[in-house]
């Protein structure tokens, strides 16, 4: 701090500190604190705020465990609260999206970093970046066009003779979440590809050649040399894709079936349709907790630090 004052003087240092203080205090810390505080308050009309009924309670969190519905898993039927179910399904299908994106991206990241010729590389990267510049809403909408009942996918499959009748993709074939998973993988796969590509790129190609010269089969070279080196990139990609998927409101609303309820949609319903901001706050606290637990889990699993991921 003395260092700053010596170089830029008291006035400028004051401005720097004020800017940073405004950001961290007014835009980051206090809003999260407000959300935490509000999540324990009841939803009341404006006139009753601060009145005798405005007391702290866990009622908003209790709503999470209301309204059990039947849910069958491996033939066993369980009674699960509807919002808990939506929460668990969101976690499961986000993890599925993450795994699919990882499987799709890893070979391509390796290709870009180690096989593609250096002359064509910038062009390839530019090609890959184009869908990223077209907004997420439109990328999801593109799949809405493809998956509609009379849409090109059904027409193509029928023309090929693979199916006799058009399929309602948005209602799901295997599960209610088919369309959501397909579209989320499409929308977020590049957030997996780029960090893995960056991390493989920094691997010395001689190491791969040494492994091959010493007789390692290709899969062992990847398992023992490339993947350990790419770990920070893989961790960062997994965190990005999981968080984007679990937090997406756009994709489930645009292509999701009416029977598939994504957790952010539940939060939005509390917030917007019921105008019950307090319960919405409680639910987003639960969601935030999930995200923190997931990030910590990934950091432990891959043994990397937060600053590796934030790159």
């Amino acid at each position: 701090m003395e260092n700053l004052i010596r170089r830029y003087g008291r006035g400028l240092t004051g401005i720097f500190v004020l800017l940073v203080g405004f950001w961290l205090l007014m835009l980051v810390i206090l809003p999260n604190f407000a959300m935490f505080e509000q999540s324990f308050r009841p939803y009341l009309p404006v006139t009753e705020i601060g009145g005798p009924r405005d007391v702290y309670s866990l009622n908003n969190y209790a709503k999470f465990f209301d309204a059990p519905v039947e849910w069958s898993l491996f033939g066993i039927t369980l009674m699960v609260p509807v919002h808990v179910l939506s929460f668990l399904q969101t976690i499961f299908y986000s993890a599925l999206c993450t795994v699919i994106a990882l499987i799709l991206s890893y070979p391509l990241a390796f290709y870009l970093a180690k096989i593609a010729s250096p002359q064509s590389l910038p062009t390839l990267l530019l090609l890959l970046f184009i869908p990223l510049w077209v907004s997420e809403a439109l990328r999801a909408f593109a799949w809405y066009v493809i998956l509609t009942f009379n849409g090109p996918l059904n027409q193509l499959l029928m023309w090929l003779g693979l199916i006799d009748q058009a399929i309602r993709w948005q209602q799901g074939v295997l599960t209610n979440f088919d369309a959501i998973v397909i579209v989320m993988v499409y929308c977020y796969v590049l957030f997996m590809l780029l960090p893995i590509y960056t991390s493989i790129q920094s691997l010395d190609t001689n190491q791969i050649e040494a492994a091959e010269d010493l007789g390692a089969p290709w899969w062992r070279t990847h398992l023992r040399v490339v993947i350990p080196h790419a770990k920070p990139g893989i961790a960062s990609g997994c965190v990005m894709v999981f968080m984007l998927s679990a937090g997406s409101l756009l994709v489930p609303t645009v292509v999701g079936s009416t029977r598939a309820n994504w957790f952010p949609q539940t939060i939005y319903t509390w917030f917007n349709d019921s105008q019950d901001w307090q319960t919405g706050a409680a639910y987003s606290m639960i969601f935030l907790l999930l995200c923190i637990v997931f990030v910590i889990l990934m950091l432990r699993l891959f043994r990397v630090s937060l600053s590796d991921i934030a790159k």
């Binding site: 701090m1 700053l4 010596r6 170089r7 830029y8 006035g11 400028l12 720097f16 800017l19 940073v20 405004f22 950001w23 961290l24 835009l27 980051v28 809003p31 999260n32 407000a34 959300m35 509000q38 799709l104 070979p107 593609a116 910038p122 062009t123 390839l124 530019l126 090609l127 890959l128 869908p131 510049w133 077209v134 907004s135 997420e136 809403a137 439109l138 999801a140 909408f141 593109a142 066009v145 509609t148 009379n150 090109p152 027409q155 499409y186 968080m243 679990a246 409101l249 756009l250 609303t253 952010p264 939005y268 901001w277 987003s284 969601f287 935030l288 937060l306 600053s307 991921i309 934030a310």
Partner: protein, 286 residues
């Protein structure tokens, strides 16, 4: 690597690019189909009607204007904040640095809807506490701006901090010794070094803001931005005007990409020529 595996790798790359592009082509194609629904099959004939419908859509243009205004406001706030944050974090050391850095990068990882909800709740309860119904405290695009600034500043901070690593503080010492004022040190020495990073982060901030959906949806009040407008259109059952809009946006993206690619190629060619000339000169000297 065997030739067959090499071929497989190229093939996979080509397949992946097709996978990324085909949905966009289908969506853009549907803009020219003379059908009430956004689809390319059945093809009912070529039309440009959806483009005229798009240009007549006043609400869409207002949403577009809102998006641009919010993005400019985000750039104006996030670039100074992020730059100041990078300078501060670069200057301090010790145990406080890790804590402060943690607080600064946390918004990057925070989900958009949490940022949106917390921003609305905070300003709303602040309004209730001071007992004011002033417009600042109610949902609206100004809160969308603040919510977006909270995480976009972190991107700016990371970009500027990376650039600061290559800065030589000795230059500032020298300027001070030679009698420069503090403001001059900042304006003439430090900021010129940071301008490339600040420019890049301004572009990132602008496009991040245009793209943003989650934060905006919860904070916007009744106002629309372009992404929210597209979303509400899709939800309410759509006509191919959205496809026409998508087609135009894809065209803009392609033109920008093409310009960038041509510039890069020309630069690469000039550099290759220079390197060849240097080699020739070297060979001539020997």
């Amino acid at each position: 690597m065997t030739p067959s595996r090499r071929f497989l790798a190229h093939f996979y790359m080509a397949l992946f690019v097709i996978y990324l592009m085909l949905p966009l082509v289908v969506m853009a194609g549907a803009a020219f189909n003379d059908s009430k629904l956004p689809t390319i099959v059945p093809w009912k004939g070529f039309t440009l009607d959806w483009f005229s419908a798009l240009f007549a859509d006043g609400r869409m243009w207002r949403a577009f204007l809102n998006s641009i205004l919010v993005a400019l406001a985000v750039v104006a706030l996030a670039v100074p904040i992020g730059t100041a944050a990078a300078i501060v974090i670069n200057a301090i050391s010790g145990k406080w640095r890790a804590t402060l850095y943690g607080f600064m990068v946390a918004p990057v990882l925070a989900p958009g809807l949490v940022i949106g909800i917390s921003t609305v709740l905070f300003w709303n309860s602040l309004g209730n506490t001071v007992g004011s119904d002033f417009i600042l405290f109610r949902p609206g695009l100004h809160l969308s701006t603040l919510g977006q600034v909270s995480f976009i500043s972190a991107y700016v901070m990371l970009l500027v901090l990376a650039r600061l690593q290559s800065f030589d503080p000795g230059l500032e010492e020298a300027a001070l010794d030679l009698g420069a004022s503090h403001a001059q040190v900042l304006r003439r020495i430090l900021l010129p070094h940071l301008y490339p990073a600040m420019g890049a982060s301004a572009a990132v901030a602008f496009f991040q803001s245009l793209e943003n959906f989650n934060v905006t949806l919860f904070t916007r009040g009744g106002a629309d931005t372009l992404t929210v407008y597209v979303f509400s259109k899709v939800r309410a059952g759509i006509t191919p005007t959205i496809n026409a809009l998508a087609f135009l946006l894809i065209c803009v993206t392609l033109v920008l990409a093409l310009v960038y690619e041509m510039k890069r190629r020309r630069k690469a060619r000039i550099e290759a020529e220079r390197a060849a000339e240097a080699r020739r000169a070297e060979a001539a000297m020997l």
